[in-house]
Amino acid sequence: MSLLEKNILELSSMLKKKEISSVELTKTFLDRISKTNGQLNSFLKVDEQKAISEAAVADKNLNNASHPLMGIPVAIKDNILTKDIRSSGGSKMLENFVPTFDATVVAKLKNAGAVIIGKTNCDEFAMGSSNENSAYGPCKNPWDITRVPGGSSGGSAAAVAARQAPVSLGSDTGGSIRQPAALCGIVGMKPTYGRVSRFGVMAFASSLDQVGPFGKTVEDTSILFDTISGFDDRDSTSVNQETIGVSTEYLKKDIKGLRIGVPKEYVNEKLAPEIRKNFDESLKRLESLGAIIEHISLPHTDYAISCYYIVAPAEASSNLARYDGIRYTLRKGEDKGLDQIYIQSRTAGFGKEVQRRILLGTFVLSSGYYDAYYKKALDVRNAIRKDFSDAFKKVDVIATPTSPCEAFKIGEKAANPMEMYLADVFTVATPLSGNPALSVPCGFSNNLPLGLQLIGKHFDEKTILNVAHQFEQDTKFYQKAPAL
């Protein structure tokens, strides 16, 4: 088996036994990136010398007790700050921005000895569901380069699917890890709100944003998740909870008797037939593994998209006020006074979708509209949260499709923002409620991968990872890779 196909524990074992070095491993992935990035545009920045030098340090430190990520390359979404490596967030606004510090998640990876192999493409400031809103051109889906990889963490998902990196980090505000994981045929998880520090992550919607892992397998995803999670007093929303631990033994537990809820608002006649068929087959597999399928209701599901597209733009309009052309961004209008620096820098630096969301957010927060939109959305958000809280009194896990469709063609939805927003229909509710959720490969439609979404109780990522692992080992969809 090629090194590119191996999982983290296999690679770690080889590194510890000195069968390969981290430098050799890193060069193997760098070579893969160099051969395939022209087709995929999944990486925006790769600093080969820096990666090789980090790998050389890992080689010196490796021993039998080393963390499983020591010496392993990890790709990082470009909205996560990496010291001395340009971090643009997919925006022209930060085209020349080179951070002077690492995000906490990156610092944790470096402490574990991981090698930062590069920065991955994404929708500008994580706003999008297709990666077409990147200022540096769209990332392509490795299964079919005429299609989108999903978004906003499209580059991170495509990189793992295309074997350019063993694992990667993304961020999820409305589905930006799970939807691209589904569309690229890999595993991706949005952890519980508060589980992973956002210090050093470009803020989009702070009450929703969460950093999370991508991997080819659930086990890889679990290892990466454990490494980046934990309390950080530099993120005021960080919750002091014990991490799940680096051991993945818990994944082997069977799921007999586990209650899996299927919400009628997600799985009904509106679902596309091929998605429905695949989902029903996935449920049968879970039943065959001993899980008990129960039909449940999440009554406010139909309002989740509307709620999300008020709350997220409102917070974005506030968060993105920091991009002012003064301190660390693109500057335009220098000779026309301060106000014109703000206006011209922001107009030139932000792409259309980011501007659209800033305008929408400014509108819903403005005097005369605040109560009708923003306050109402907060009430609905609480109702959605209560839906999940009530449902989890009856079941242990909730299952839904991750995406209403397989990967769509580049340009197919780009002209209609509302149609693009509806691509998030199955993923927006959990950031609103704070619950953890992941996507695990569950088959193919028209030779394109599909994802099964598993939603868990707050801080109970272990259960959804356990179910996903059992499902994955039974179905083995993870063994199929795109022919790139």
Partner: protein, 98 residues
């Protein structure tokens, strides 16, 4: 809700420190109204006081302990224009000698 007009968009853009190309204005208005039509679905929902009663996670209180932060050199490193230890911007107060 009433439909958003071109003048409304111009006003919102002004508040958000953005400038809208006049050739783009009609399209922006149309997209904006499409989105509003969808999100106004929330107004068809009536919530009683018990609907939102749910426990939210409790955030901890942190000690406010001083610790080293970025140096001035680091803070100014990405500035488009600076003169240590300041960011450089055009004059904002009228009058006086330049």
């Amino acid at each position: 809700m009433s439909k958003i007009t071109e003048n409304d968009i111009i006003k919102i853009a002004k508040l958000a420190k953005l400038s809208i190309d006049s050739n783009d204005l009609a399209k922006r208005v149309s997209e904006f109204n499409d989105i509003l039509t969808h999100i106004e679905k929330l107004n068809t929902l009536s919530l009683d006081s018990s609907t939102g009663a749910v426990e939210t996670p409790k955030l901890g209180m942190f000690e406010d302990t001083p610790r080293p932060s970025n140096t001035i050199e680091e803070v100014l490193k990405n500035a488009p224009s600076s003169e240590k230890p300041f960011f450089y911007i055009p004059r904002v107060i009228e009058g006086g000698k330049s």
